[in-house]
């Protein structure tokens, strides 16, 4: 505890161990000798706490920084990255004690970017309607329903929608209003709070990938490159007729691998409209045929009744296993996953380059495949105009914030020769001797409560292998970390750089010197 000494060179990183979620405090030394503080994300899954409470984490940030952050960076708008911003204790908003000078965000968070705004609108509308549908589906029974509801609850949980929601049926179809109150979403509440805190637009920086590197304000010898979120959506924009970019965007068929749109051709309205148990049949505009053709198993002619008696669910003893009354709803889970991936892929991915040593720190947010795969699409440009390739930059990575709690498609597998960015691109040559990976995960909670392999064992193994044991994971104490294969001198140097981590339940401290 206590204020963090700004290091003489390089970056000190404090990784909080609050639970299943991200929160990192980076300290550097400014030109004038004063400390520079950068906080990346602040959130966790509800009830995923490890040893400390949320208020302890915020209290430590206040104490460490004297209540003032130079930069607050938010990778993406998922609960486990932002919900601590709106944490309250005894009616007091805890983050009120912290001042923020500047906000760093991905272009997708820019309220003034027309395209980003369209995506946001479509996203919020989709989440709204999906959660309304889920509420109405709770009463529905039958094959697959409990699993479907629990999956949808989890996925909506990421968007900050906490079941059961307070939606009244009449509100379900209300057009979207972009405000936390109608979203009923904790994520939106948190984001509203942060935006309110840094009200002046000049204090906000929205990063686009592959644009010219930016300096860290006031700190000499450190620059940041943005690698994501992918801007490919712009290309899609140019190819599409403008009409397709209306508020019905989420119904468009996915045209590319980046999945930065929502939904599938035309059908969502039809599903959501009818998803309620006993939806008002007369008003369902998606009924495909005239009434004269419709039958209930118990109605119709004598022959029809006999037919249905055998082939409809109730009478069909042998055929029950192939009834499909709920299958049409399973598309909702697919749709919810798509929303989730979209937000993960909207992650701001930043690489910090330390000028003197060339060392790189990579913060990947929760970027999944669609984000990773675009990192190397273009070369990078430093402020002075010199160019370098992404591969070259990533080869010097000595610190990797693992994507999405170490899930399987958020750290790409490959080889150093592979044409796409992957784990083997990181920490090449001399950098490998210092390579460290950090996994923000409460693996025990994830496994036990959610049955999520976070991190995936194979990915953790690959990371431990590559880093020779130098892998921080939120729920594993520093004392439990072990050297794996590498030389003792390397390990001892690592332990020395991790000073202060021993015995800490609240955080790990790690120093990347620029030398």
């Amino acid at each position: 505890m206590g204020r963090i000494e700004a290091p003489g060179s390089g970056v000190k990183i404090r990784m909080y161990r609050q639970g299943h979620g991200d929160c990192f405090l980076l300290t550097m030394r400014k030109q004038d000798g004063e400390p520079f503080y950068l906080l990346i994300d602040c959130g966790l899954w509800t009830n995923s706490e490890i040893k400390v409470a949320v208020e302890d984490v915020i209290a430590d940030i206040v104490e460490a920084t004297d209540g003032r952050l130079d930069v607050l960076m938010i990778t993406h708008e998922h609960m486990d990255h932002v919900n601590m911003f709106s944490a309250k204790l005894d009616g007091k908003q805890l983050w009120d004690d912290i001042e923020v000078d500047q906000l760093w965000l991905g272009w997708t968070a820019n309220r003034a970017d027309a395209y980003a705004k369209k995506i946001r609108t479509a996203h919020q509308k989709a989440v709204n309607r999906l959660s309304a549908a889920v509420n109405r589906l709770r009463a529905r029974k039958g094959l697959g329903m409990p699993e479907l509801i629990s999956e949808l609850d989890d996925l909506l949980g990421f968007e900050g929608v906490v079941p059961p929601m307070g939606f009244a049926a009449a509100k379900d179809y209300k057009p979207l209003v972009e405000s936390a109150a109608t979203m009923n979403s904790k994520t939106a509440v948190a984001m509203d709070y942060v935006f309110g805190k840094v009200a002046n637009n000049t204090q906000r920086t929205y990063f686009k990938p592959h644009e010219k590197a930016r300096p860290v304000p006031g700190v000499p010898g450190v620059r940041v490159f943005a690698l994501g979120p992918p801007r490919e959506i712009e290309r899609l924009d140019e190819e599409e007729p403008k009409a397709a970019l209306s508020d019905r965007l989420y119904e468009k068929t996915a045209e590319d691998r980046f999945a930065l749109d929502f939904g599938f051709a035309g059908a969502l309205e039809g599903i959501l409209g009818a998803a309620g148990e006993g939806a008002a049949l007369d008003t369902d505009p998606y009924r495909p045929f005239a009434r004269e053709f419709e039958r209930r198993p118990e109605s119709g002619t004598r022959d029809e009744k006999a037919f249905f008696k055998h082939f409809a669910a109730a009478g069909d003893k042998d055929g029950n296993w192939r009834q499909i009354e709920n299958d049409w709803l399973f598309a909702l889970a697919w749709f919810a996953r798509k929303i989730n991936v979209h937000i993960n892929n909207s992650s701001l991915v930043l690489a910090l380059e330390l000028e003197a040593s060339g060392k790189v720190l990579l913060f990947a947010g929760d970027a999944q495949y669609g984000n990773w795969i675009t990192w190397a699409d273009k070369a990078l440009v430093r402020e002075n105009g010199t160019q370098l390739s992404v591969k070259e930059l990533l080869a010097r990575t000595v610190f990797y914030k693992v994507g999405h709690h170490g899930s399987h498609n958020a750290t790409l597998k490959g080889e150093a020769e592979s044409p796409y960015p992957n784990l083997d691109w990181l920490g090449q040559g001399a950098s490998e001797r210092e390579f460290v990976a950090v996994i923000p995960s409460n693996a025990l909670w994830a496994e036990k409560v959610k049955r999520w392999p976070h991190p995936l064992k194979a990915i953790r193994t690959a990371l431990v292998d590559k880093a020779k044991g130098r892998v921080f994971q939120s729920n594993i104490d520093f004392a439990q970390m072990q050297r794996s294969k590498g030389p003792a001198a390397e390990w001892n140097a690592f332990v020395a750089r991790s000073q202060g981590s021993e015995g800490q339940d609240l955080y790990f401290d790690y120093w990347v010197p620029d030398e």
Binding site: S246, G266, A267, D284, G300, I324, A331, N340, N409
Partner: protein, 634 residues
């Protein structure tokens, strides 16, 4: 009705392509088709059905059940034996009448089944159902024409049924007015595609386990091939296009444009767009030159499947061209230059007939090859070998150079078997000819009556006992097993599934069926097709794998739990009388081969099919319940 007076075929009207083609002015001629399908009535013994009628339709292969749960209703079933329906070759094509939808789904699906049975020379079976640890016979594929409200249709292997969706045409849609309801069950193409998935699953249940980049792509590509050539087998649908291209050989590529048009209702349309050709700004259609390196760059099942379609399509064009070159010479009086103006209708008819014949030929060729594929982990290269070998069995002399056409087309698209030294027809034949003399006793006992007249339930019932006989025979043939890559050495890794009695690595005889081959006097002779597989527990984590291989418990895992199943196997073609294993199609390596297992592991961990699932980890093939639903959703 006296059986003798029952007609052999039932004529049923369907949309030739789909309702939007019928509604477009320039393609109005392609409005409807009349399909002839084998006559059948409601089977006896089903409560609620009367064998004198054809309600549902429910026949021996299919049961159409029109449940629309999203609309909370059923639609009244059609009776195809009703007088007015019979008198008119079925109901008139209509989007507004669900009973016509039932009729069309039934008719097109039956046609696909018919093509399969003709090509394979035996009745087709659906996948069986696991019930109480046993495989149970499933009579009929169930079809739900209006089950979903999305632009999707899929085969569900767990329920052995096909679900079709309907959806409002999205805004900005050109072919169909926005908001109009589009029914996937009215697309000839979608129906044939989905039924092919079901038939393929009935033949090769492991072809839906993605263990390499080709497996799902094969399922998709093959289903597209059947859908496409089932279409092309109708000369009516080709005449118009052939008249337009005026028989110009260089412009016969235009048939590719037609193929794309047919496919545009499905995701295939888009995939084919990337593989076959494109329309330029002036509206002219161009075909892509085959690119042998394209295959390396695509991994999405539809995109990759489209390459397979493109290769087969290329072979089809080569065949067609060689069949019509004489006709064009005659028509141009030897000059090769056709007179100006429209082609003579007779010539158009003859050309269309040749194209349809070529289509039927290649369709049969493609279906027959299924029997010659390894039972698991199939690749496009395996399929190429199967195509060449199966055709060799039926036509020992390649009089029309069809096999050369296939070989050349596939190599133009970069498809080649993984272990091949020399890309030649001879080199592509499967490895062959091992004596099975030791099996004299047991092989003789295998009794296999399985042709197009056999009762399907009986054919299914015979599989078990025959497999047992074959198993007994093979167990005693250690040398042959070695040759097949089947491991019975007790020292094999503990993760390999053992047989309960002996504790030796178990092998399973999956399937015993018949395949026709042309005998020395041009008569057709049935051979035995035998599929054998082995399996081993696979783990993503190498430490876990090591423990499992050594027989140690893995912490936190149940005894039989694993991340994925690693399978190896082979397919044998056996001449029962001559006691000869004629062909062997096997997977590379064997069940102990760690390098092959590593390939499967690497594929599963690196696969991007399941990007949407960041929570449950990579989806192991045997855990993927409904891969078809996911692959088809877009």
């Amino acid at each position: 009705m006296p059986g003798s007076r029952k007609p052999a075929y039932r004529k049923l009207r369907v949309y030739a392509v789909d309702p939007s083609i019928a509604a477009a002015h320039d393609t109005a001629e392609l409005n409807e088709l009349i399909l002839s399908i084998p006559w059948e009535d409601n089977p006896a013994g089903i409560p609620g059905l009367d064998p004198g009628r054809m309600v549902g339709p429910v026949g021996t292969y299919l049961e159409i059940v029109d449940h629309d749960p999203a609309s909370n209703c059923f639609y009244a079933p059609v009776d195809l034996n009703e007088t007015y329906v019979l008198a008119n070759s079925g109901l008139t094509p209509s989007e507004l009448n669900p009973q016509f939808h039932q009729q069309m789904v039934y008719a097109v699906a039956m046609k696909t089944i018919d093509h399969f049975e003709r090509a394979l020379g035996r009745v087709a079976l659906w996948a069986s159902r696991w019930q109480g640890g046993e495989k149970v016979f499933v009579d009929r594929l169930r079809i739900y024409p209006h089950a979903l409200r999305e632009a999707n249709a899929y085969y569900n292997p767990a329920k052995i049924c096909i679900l079709f969706g309907y959806f409002p045409a999205p805004e900005g849609s050109v072919e169909v007015a926005a908001g109009t309801t589009v029914f996937t069950c009215l697309s000839h193409d979608v129906i044939a595609h989905e039924v092919t998935h079901a038939l393929l699953d009935g033949l090769h249940e492991r072809f839906s386990e993605p263990t390499n980049v080709d497996v799902l792509a094969f399922h998709e590509g093959f289903s597209d091939i059947v859908a496409l050539f089932q279409h092309f087998a109708n000369p009516q649908v080709l005449r118009d296009q052939i008249a337009k291209t005026r028989g110009d050989l260089e412009r016969q590529n235009m048939l590719g444009q037609l193929a794309q048009q047919f496919g545009r209702a499905t995701k295939r349309g888009r995939a084919l767009r990337d593989a076959l050709g494109y329309t330029d700004k002036a509206g002219q259609w161009h075909r892509f030159r085959p690119n042998s390196s394209y295959l390396e760059s695509v991994s999405e099942p539809h995109d990759r499947g489209a390459v397979l379609v493109a290769a087969v399509f290329e072979a089809f064009l080569k065949m067609y061209k060689s069949r019509v070159v004489d006709l064009l010479r005659i028509a141009s009086q030897g000059t090769g230059v056709l007179p100006a103006g429209e082609l003579h209708p007779d010539l158009v008819y003859r050309l269309a007939d040749e194209a349809a014949k070529s289509a039927r030929h290649i369709l049969e060729m493609c279906i027959r090859a299924l029997d010659y594929c390894p039972p698991v982990d199939v690749t496009f290269g395996d399929y190429l070998r199967a195509l060449i070998t199966s055709d060799y069995d039926l036509y020992p002399e390649d009089e029309h150079n069809y096999r050369t056409a296939v070989l050349q087309a596939f190599s133009q698209y970069g498809v080649r078997p993984r272990d091949l030294r020399n890309l030649s027809l001879e080199g592509l034949l499967l490895s062959r000819s091992i004596s099975a003399e030791g099996g004299a006793d047991t092989l003789g006992k295998v009794s296999l009556e399985w042709d197009n007249e056999t009762d399907r339930r009986e054919a299914f019932g015979a599989i078990g006992p025959n497999a047992e006989l074959i198993h007994t025979w093979l167990r005693s043939e250690k040398a042959l097993l070695g040759h097949l890559g089947i491991v019975v050495n007790p020292k094999a890794p503990a993760s390999v599934t053992r047989s309960k009695g002996s504790g030796e690595p178990a092998f399973e005889v999956h399937s015993v069926r018949t395949a026709l081959r042309r005998g020395s006097k041009t008569n057709l002779v049935p051979d035995l097709v035998i599929e054998i597989t082995q399996r081993r527990r696979g783990f993503y984590d190498l430490e876990d794998q090591k423990k499992a291989d050594e027989g140690a418990r893995i912490k936190g895992r149940r005894k039989d739990e694993c991340d994925f199943w690693f399978r190896r196997g082979c397919t044998l073609m056996v001449n029962q009388k001559a006691r000869l294993v004629r062909w062997i199609a096997r997977t590379p390596g064997d069940i102990c081969d760690d390098a092959e297992m590593a390939k499967v592991r690497a594929f599963l961990l690196g696969s991007t099919i399941d990007e949407l699932d960041a929570f449950s980890g990579p989806i192991a093939p045997h855990k993927l319940m409904n891969q078809f639903a996911a692959v088809h959703r877009h």
